[in-house]
Subunit: 453 residues, 2 copies
């Protein structure tokens, strides 16, 4: 088992430093591994415990009865290099070192990190970390990170920052959008963004990559863009957020990670050139990833807005326009069909205002007419009132638009909205909380459509 | 009972068109009035029902036994002018007409609207609507709108759009931030933004106004800015979102409301000149309103960032910088105090990175040191991990910073985060979901600080 397979698709995992105490990372990671439904063996290792969370515990990795593919380490830094050698002797080729106390803590730590890398290379293995928040592969029931995430899907999260990875993972899970892989890279002593992107380019479970970059090692910038391009060429959409975009932010990157931040504009242009979609905030990256996972790309700039809220429609048009999209000019035929099929209260145009009297049936009729208009590249449906049945309409029409995206926003709908959102999330269809965020998601779908045109 | 008092502080309310059927607006509004804990009399009016939701129902307003201050109408448009006269005869001076079918529906509706206004003026009353989503005053237990909102607080919501009002109201409620008043103005046949702002300028329960404007009647622009200024001079913070900011959006305003949209830049400059804070999206308006309701203004541009997430800290600095704020330069004394009081894993600087090992006690020590630094105008605390006790630290220190704001972001913290957020919301302290949104909230606090400097 070579390369990153031992990290993402292990058959067995040892947790070195498993803890009996809830709240400690060595406990949480073990619990998440057990609760995520991992199919292979899980071996807690702790010299002072016989059993943790009902699972037999071993004094050292050497005592584990079966072979070990992946060793997750949550022990003091000075013990890690030795534990790596021990685990390698039991067959481990994947190493995830959660422990801090390495390069980030000073010269002694840097020396420990050097010895750690030497031990991993000596074993022919690969190392994620140290000082990292771990990895996950929901498709294998593998959650060697925290908090617990289990929903299977198409989005891979790659992030130097553990918190950013956790934010993306928990937000995706909460919105019903599943993940394919998660890698929180920490100090990147061995595996970095380039390695993970290369792995993901060949990963059939990944269709979208959310990439958060603080900085890359000197000379590795070109490789990063190459790896992004390889993902894009393999049909994956990549959305990338570069932190340290301002001068002050860039200084913060240098002090946080010791890596070179690089000018924001340079990164952004390079990402675009490699076919990735640059995001300008965490939330924008999240929204784009959700949209890209759920919807087809948009092949043009023209969006039809269907709304029960006049105000929501105006805000949507503002936001579309400010992102280089535009309100589609509906054909005479479409306008006639809309007038024919909609009740008198509807204000036919674009935005198409179904008004506060709107029902799910009105949205249905509107989408039927819009679906036949070749001048419409995508649809933004705003549910701005308690509209029971919103989910059923969207889930029916999203497949019926000839490969054009139908993105939904739901706001102001109280209890009915909460019930409808539950249905959307159960089906993994993202719904945005404002027209502006839905418009930004459509812009990401247009960007990816352009790249693949 | 004159002016808008009859609308916002009635002693009795008649719901003309109260319905027996759940889901109908005439039912929902009655239910919300009853559930919000209104202290006065509520009279359902419906010729076909004896009782609705356990409350005695009357065939017409004329049959209501006591005097009526406020009449809420949810009946067909053609019946409204007559019902207004009837209600006026029972003493009503406040009128909220939810029903559509007036000016927005064509010439016949416009004529009905003219007659409606005539009837209201004839009675010496004031009218909100028609075609509107109603009003609320949680301090009086008055919820003549939907969805149900009851939390008392300091934020007034003024919006032509019902959906925007509902979005703000439900989001504020969900985040534990209460409202003082809500007015969803609809067609604005009588009461418009100017009238409500003038009322709010003298409303002791209002400290923050969230104002959503699509367009104003010709010649009313100057009055609007005057009314904004009057609120600001009365010590209220006003955050304003102008819809129809792009050319296409502005055309959408014209078609939606028939009112003049006006150039975005003109509005924005005028809002700033009147002392308001312009917002560029719904979410930004919401976040600013929450921050303004909970925190003191910021008297300068320098922010200290305390974080458990290095990545979160970098994103915060980027966002602060891009909004014209900056990372404060900490004094030598502060740096020494931080080094003294924090554990070895903390990376002392700004951002102050407490790392993934951070505990609530570390934040406590950090805030103690930062509170004594006169070069710090505000603090952004990022909890980027499961950190139990986050709420207690923030709630202790927010009063101990000599009138400087302490704004919190919490992300990536799983179950612990959910529990902590529950405590923040219970106390009405807003927490932002990303460092970027927290930074934007601080920018609003700086803007209001500038205005009042």
């Amino acid at each position: 088992m070579g390369g990153l397979d031992a990290v993402f698709r292990p058959r067995s995992v040892a947790v070195v430093g498993a803890s009996t105490r809830p709240g400690k990372l060595g406990h949480e990671i073990l619990r998440n591994l057990l609760e995520a439904g991992f199919g292979g063996e899980v071996y807690p290792v702790n010299p002072k415990a016989d059993e943790i969370l009902g699972v037999r515990c071993y004094r050292s990795v050497s005592e584990v009865p079966g072979p070990v593919d992946l060793a997750v380490m949550v022990i003091p830094a000075r013990l890690v290099p030795g534990a790596v050698e021990e685990a390698a002797a039991r067959g481990a080729r994947g190493f995830v070192v959660v422990s801090g106390g390495f390069r980030e803590s000073g010269p002694e730590g840097a020396e420990l990190e050097r010895r750690l890398v030497e031990a991993v290379r000596g074993a022919g293995g690969r190392l994620v970390g140290p000082n990292c928040q771990g990895v996950a592969n929901p498709h294998a029931g593998l959650c060697a990170t925290w908090p617990l995430v289990t929903r299977r899907g198409r989005v891979a999260v790659v992030s130097q920052s553990g918190t950013v990875a956790a934010f993306l993972a928990t937000s995706l899970e909460e919105h019903g959008v599943g993940m394919s892989k998660l890698a929180a890279l920490g100090n990147k002593a061995d595996v970095d963004e380039v390695d993970v992107l290369e792995f993901l380019a060949g990963d059939p479970e990944t269709e979208v990559v959310a990439l958060y970059v603080e900085g890359v090692a000197g000379g590795r910038g070109r490789d990063l863009m190459e790896a992004v391009r390889r993902c894009v060429e393999a049909g994956k959409a990549v959305v990338a957020l570069k932190a340290g975009r301002t001068e002050a932010g860039s200084r913060a990157v240098a002090s946080h990670t010791g890596s070179v931040a690089g000018a924001a504009e340079v990164y952004e242009a390079a990402f675009r050139q490699a076919g990735a979609i640059p995001a300008s905030s965490l939330e924008e990256m999240l929204d784009a990833a959700e949209a890209l996972a759920a919807h087809p790309p948009m092949r043009g700039d023209s969006v039809a807005v269907v709304t029960s809220s006049g105000g929501g429609g105006i805000l949507a048009v503002d936001a579309l326009e400010s992102r280089g999209l535009r309100a589609a000019e509906l054909s005479g035929e479409t306008l006639a069909a809309l007038r024919e099929s909609l009740p008198g209260y509807a204000v036919v145009g674009n935005p198409l205002d179904l008004t506060g009297s709107a029902t799910a049936a009105d949205y249905d009729a509107a989408l039927a007419a819009l679906s036949r208009d070749p001048g419409v590249d995508g649809i933004l449906a705003i549910f701005g009132d308690p509209i029971p049945g919103a989910f059923e309409v969207v889930s029916r029409w999203r497949e019926g638009l000839g490969g054009r995206p139908l993105v939904a926003a739901y706001l102001g709908g109280g209890e009915v909205q909460a019930a409808e959102l539950g249905k959307f999330r159960g089906a993994g269809i993202p719904v945005f909380p404002t027209p502006e965020r839905a418009a930004a998601a459509l812009a990401a779908l247009r960007d990816v459509g352009r790249g693949s045109a």
